[in-house]
Symmetry: C2
Subunit: 478 residues, 2 copies
Amino acid sequence: MKTAITPTRAENFNEWYQNLIVAADLAENAPVRGCMTIKPYGWAIWELMRDEMDRRIKAAGVLNANFPLLIPIDFFNREAEHVAGFAKEAAVVTHYRLKMIDGMLQPDPESKLNEPYIIRPTSETIIGEAMSRWVQSYRDLPLKLNQWVNVMRWEMRPRMFLRTSEFNWQEGHNVFATHEEANADARKMHKLYGDYMRDVLAIPSIRGEKTPEERFAGADHTYTLEHIMQDGKALQAGTSHDLGQHFAKSFGIQYLGADGKLQHAWTTSWGTSTRMMGSLFMVHSDDDGLVLPPMVAPYQVVVIPIARDDDTAALNAAADALGDKLRLNGIRVMVDTTDMRGADKMWKWIKRGVPLRVEIGARELADGTVTVTRRDLGKVSKQTISIDDFVASAGQMLRTIQDDMYQAAASRNEKMIQSVADLAELETKLSRGEIGFFRIKYDQTLNDAFDALQETYKISRRCLDDADPAYVFVAKSY
Amino acid sequence: MKTAITPTRAENFNEWYQNLIVAADLAENAPVRGCMTIKPYGWAIWELMRDEMDRRIKAAGVLNANFPLLIPIDFFNREAEHVAGFAKEAAVVTHYRLKMIDGMLQPDPESKLNEPYIIRPTSETIIGEAMSRWVQSYRDLPLKLNQWVNVMRWEMRPRMFLRTSEFNWQEGHNVFATHEEANADARKMHKLYGDYMRDVLAIPSIRGEKTPEERFAGADHTYTLEHIMQDGKALQAGTSHDLGQHFAKSFGIQYLGADGKLQHAWTTSWGTSTRMMGSLFMVHSDDDGLVLPPMVAPYQVVVIPIARDDDTAALNAAADALGDKLRLNGIRVMVDTTDMRGADKMWKWIKRGVPLRVEIGARELADGTVTVTRRDLGKVSKQTISIDDFVASAGQMLRTIQDDMYQAAASRNEKMIQSVADLAELETKLSRGEIGFFRIKYDQTLNDAFDALQETYKISRRCLDDADPAYVFVAKSY
């Protein structure tokens, strides 16, 4: 059977992913090393994802703000683990002017900064410095802040949406009076993320704590959301960190308690990024292109008039009328009345993953019907129903698609997770090319033999099993 | 009379502005040269401004996308006027790694980039490069793109919101087949901006074309929106540029016409930024603090229970109930039940410019009334009305405030504009300390005597008079 994307997932998953992005017109590599340009269709998906996440973050009592892009090296240098984690991928601003020298536009030596800045890889430091001034008394706590910004981590092996030198994200930074509150909040945001991924992206997450080896640079606890791609690899889709007093001590975030004593506060940070889009695309899509859950589909329904002879005007009018009715019900609709051939329009919107595809041809027009196909199920779901029934049931059909897509991903996840008794069994399975998540006793991974497996098979500890933290999930990853 | 902000506007407008920003908790100078941190209350205003602008831009058929932060110097260098305009304020990224050298964290010499990047001061170049690939045929036109991003122009004399090295903005970039379409579109977006400023920000704009001396670097025509501050100075609040074929030729943006001929396209760009917030604050605010038009007020109504003795619980409950009723009518409400003194709460929200202030004390609670005061009019507007009447009329009261604030600004503008016959009269008025916009024959400004006046009095040509482009408006400016 001919597919819209070649190679197929089974043939070459990585190449399929690159071609999927082109076929759905989501993004392209930018002429800036490691960076991408997110094209309008991709950005429209991100806006839907972002706006819903933003609503949920605000509902959690968090206030948005905006901190500077540049971070003084001195700030960055104050927390030792943090520096160790990010110094090797920091873009550095050293001059503030260009000058034509020897016929070439170059940094003006006279504009060299005494103290260079780095472009934020994350903002714990610059926000920590602000918090040290904003927090004075226990009355100022908790303080919960978030920002939607771009960050930069110089990437040697970039992949669109998964790893790019610049990416867009939200980063939340909260301060509390006690460790209990901070840790509870880190877990709360972890849950918020997992629920969002389930309800909005239709993606089940493996939710658990990172092992000490895999924590965020400067955290006491890192809680992660791990997604399983169709090729069995893990994708870390979001993290929430209990930072203990690392940053409170480095930046002097102190408060006067109700007891009159000055003490260090406790902070958390939590973030999700455009990386989630990579997961969204790799979890749901198929060999014909993107498959979008209705909640984040820029168009939830596409209406395609299939003209034969001289019926174009009548069919376009019927399609427009249907579009208007659906929009009144709050559905996002594309009515494609361009002069492409019907089959070409169909493929265009299949590749772009529109959840419901509606065809109106001469027969439908005469009968007052439409032919409706679900993108997630394809041809088997094709049905011809009356226009009125479709208008009345489209909202429910979209909710069903959303649920079914989650269930499909969850069922696949189940098959992708297996337990192994020890490293020997793990190695046997890996050497046979088995894919997915392997659940193993954490203490088994604390020796050289595991390090050797990591090296050979490019696996890593993804997170501890929330149900029993003596176990850890191990997998290859993006 | 004691005012919340000292000095007053009349005493020292610039200092008043700085203190206003502190009093209303909008922003602060960041520990990064020339940059600011926008605090939650300021950012909430920006989100309202941004979201409404975004709706209007999308309604104009524009698609949002996202282009890289960094621009290769080579791109930047392709349009000569553009380079001349921005090279002197470009932040330059020269390294991609930090390293501890002699005990100091420094740019790693081994990570030096062969081709440095600049942080975008604006994105005509990087978007032009993309357009040269995205536009192939006349069928691809018009192409209308926008992005909401941060940009950087190194600023030697920063002032919060007005001039900061980093700022947030939207930049639109459109491509057309013909010059007529491009120019019409530049004017259309200019009108969209002016209407937005009138309807949303309640600010009247002087709308006109920049003289050739004041154009954007690389534009054939620049259309500007000039606002008049309360001290008579101009603030450029938005611009729309007809870029002719400057960027189309520099980046090879060509299309195959319906006639089968390959030809260069015509581009426009148009932008508004957080700078508009500076105008919003300086146009409407008074000596007691911020005065916000309801459309961009994070809280349109603040409900303040004024407790005396043991009635706190009953008053708080009544205040909460009123808040809920107003919210059901789509009004953004703050119910301030914190344990501050009533007078302190009042001043807090006066300084933050909430359009309607509602007090509920023991007498109101007994009578089923509330005492309502408009922020823009102050005490003279204070009235006690029944809760039901207030709930029923609050929406209309807010619309009236919005309209009245526009009218007040428009009336002041009228008094701030005067015509002068020649340079001698202009100099006389300037030397007497007269403030505002001076309308003068444009050709009068094309000689050395005007240059001397510019230098002495820090005036500049703001824009040509749309009603008669033989005249130009001249003013001091931010």
